[in-house]
């Protein structure tokens, strides 16, 4: 796999947790899990491995599908499919806070890149979602942006998974007694899982109607998050 240097550097910037789109403000239900279900540091690596096997496959498949939309040259067809894809992912995300978090980050990513790159498809995505009252989900937006930057699809998906996992572990560092070295070790050990998930998403993208997801405890954690007495995170 050969990667052109400029697109690669741009992808690194977009996948960095310091990107000003607000990703550090979301825990996607993890905050409730630490409070209500006593998720501990000892359980965390296994928890994240299973989380990736469920949610990681779903999101990285949608990331691939978002990437592939950039191939469409007919703008009407492109905007219709953009809305359909995002509407479908919204329907999977039954927990409001997590759904809204994903939609907020996706919209901000598109807006940020639209201010840096002259790409009509970014504006069309934002405009069609606004017109049809649907979301711009982060995973789909990341895929689209990666395609516009002309980075290889697998690399984009892996970068998406890497930065999502980094974000979750970073959230856990603020929620749990998880040190920097331990967090780095966890992120290091889970890289093989990221590669497996990316491969699974390649197969899943051939039959997206068959995507499965079973994270009920995390969903309920996300649903009960607004009722926590004190909160560090928006979701």
């Amino acid at each position: 796999m050969e990667i052109a240097t400029l697109p690669f550097l741009r992808l690194l910037q977009l996948a960095d947790s310091a990107l000003p789109i607000g990703s550090a403000a979301h825990s996607y239900g993890l905050e409730s899990m630490t409070v209500e279900e006593h998720l501990t540091v000892a359980q965390l690596e296994d928890f994240l491995r299973i989380y990736l096997a469920e949610n990681g496959v779903l999101e990285s498949t949608f990331c691939r599908l978002g990437y592939r939309l950039a191939e469409l040259t007919d703008s009407t067809q492109y905007m219709e499919q953009w809305v359909q894809l995002n509407t479908r992912l919204s329907a999977y995300k039954t927990a409001r806070e997590s759904r809204t978090a994903s939609a907020t980050l996706g919209r901000r990513l598109l807006q940020l890149v639209a201010s840096l790159e002259d790409a009509a498809q970014l504006y069309q995505a934002l405009a069609s979602a606004k017109r049809e009252h649907t979301d711009n989900h982060y995973s789909i937006a990341f895929g689209l942006v990666g395609a516009i930057l002309r980075v290889d699809e697998d690399v984009v998906v892996l970068a998406y998974l890497q930065q999502s996992l980094t974000g979750l572990i970073s959230a856990c560092q603020r929620l749990l007694p998880l040190g920097q070295n331990q967090a780095s070790g966890m992120l290091w050990h889970l890289k093989s899982s990221l590669i497996e998930i990316a491969e699974q998403s390649e197969r899943a993208s051939e039959h997206p109607d068959e995507l499965m997801l079973f994270t009920p405890l995390l969903d309920i954690g996300s649903m009960s998050h607004p009722l926590l007495d004190t909160r560090l995170f928006i979701s």
């Binding site: 469920e54 509407t87 479908r88 039954t94 927990a95 759904r99 994270t215 405890l217 995390l218 996300s222």
Partner: protein, 280 residues
């Protein structure tokens, strides 16, 4: 191969919903409709086999016509029996359409997958303008009294609720507990039973649903008991909310579901819920 095709029409003269049985093939069967006080029709879905047998292929179609009010329930828990080796998984496909200002309440008893069961269920619900849906499904871990927990081979449940062709809720799960443990905190954690209760009425705006989510979340908080049962409520992408729960015991779930049913019926239809007469 069993099939059942039902229609519900609201009589202009009496304003009472009437049942039309277009087709029924064993083991699926309905006997009659019972009138409900709000003009609805209550129908019990019977499976005369006593449960779903390995290899069963069951098709159910329900058409709730404009302004009609249908309530469907089961006569008891749905037992999903062990599948023999080499037999295709049992499968139930359900298509539901609720027309303008119709209402469907689908309130069955739990699914109980026995050891060795292999079962796939696909449910598609299409809602028209003004249509209402109150729909729940509860899944037990198995025959708990026999000490049988997650001993089934396959449980695949797929639900899709759409409004004018646009999905508003997708729940697709594939559980193979003998291959992939469900006890991770990323899945069921320490809980054994799970339930989803979808509450929809097409056309109400997002602010209304957010307000109902807040009201129901307070009930969820009251019903939640640490390390025993957890309830959560959220607005859907549009037109509804979902209530979810996880529990270590099945008995507490039914009471909670009825409490939510009553609360949302009052909010959406200005009356009390009308539970079918049976022991939960």
């Amino acid at each position: 191969m069993g099939s059942l095709s039902l229609g519900f029409k609201c009589s202009e003269e009496t304003q009472q919903t009437q049942l039309y049985v277009y087709e029924q093939q064993p083991p699926l069967k309905v006997i009659r409709a019972f009138p409900l006080p709000a003009g609805g029709a209550l129908v019990h879905l019977h499976n005369i086999s006593g449960g779903v047998l390995g290899g069963d292929q069951l098709n159910i179609a329900v058409d709730v016509q404009a302004g009609a009010y249908a309530q469907l329930t089961t006569t008891s828990a749905t037992r999903l029996y062990r599948s023999r080796n080499g037999v295709i998984p049992a499968r139930q496909t359900t298509h539901i359409h609720v027309a303008e200002h119709g209402l469907l309440e689908y309130v069955p008893d739990p699914l109980i997958p026995f050891a060795g069961a292999r079962y796939q269920q696909q449910t598609r619900i299409e809602l028209a303008r003004g249509a209402g849906l109150l729909w729940w499904e509860t899944v037990a871990p198995g025959r708990v009294a026999r000490g049988e927990l997650f001993a089934y081979d396959l449980l695949q449940l797929e639900y899709e609720i759409s409004v004018e062709g646009r999905p508003i809720a997708l729940e697709k799960i594939k559980l193979e507990p003998r291959q992939r443990s469900l006890s991770s905190l990323a899945r069921l954690g320490p809980y054994h039973y799970f339930t989803s209760f979808y509450i929809c009425k097409v056309g109400l705006d997002a602010a209304y649903w957010l307000s109902l989510e807040k009201e129901c979340s307070l009930l969820a908080q009251q019903l939640t008991c640490a390390d025993e049962i957890r309830w959560g409520v959220s607005t859907l992408a549009a037109h509804g909310i979902v209530v979810r729960a996880l529990s270590k015991r099945g008995t507490a779930l039914a009471g909670g579901l009825h409490a939510f049913w009553d609360m949302v019926t009052q909010a959406l239809y200005g009356r009390k819920s009308i539970p079918p007469r049976k022991i939960y």
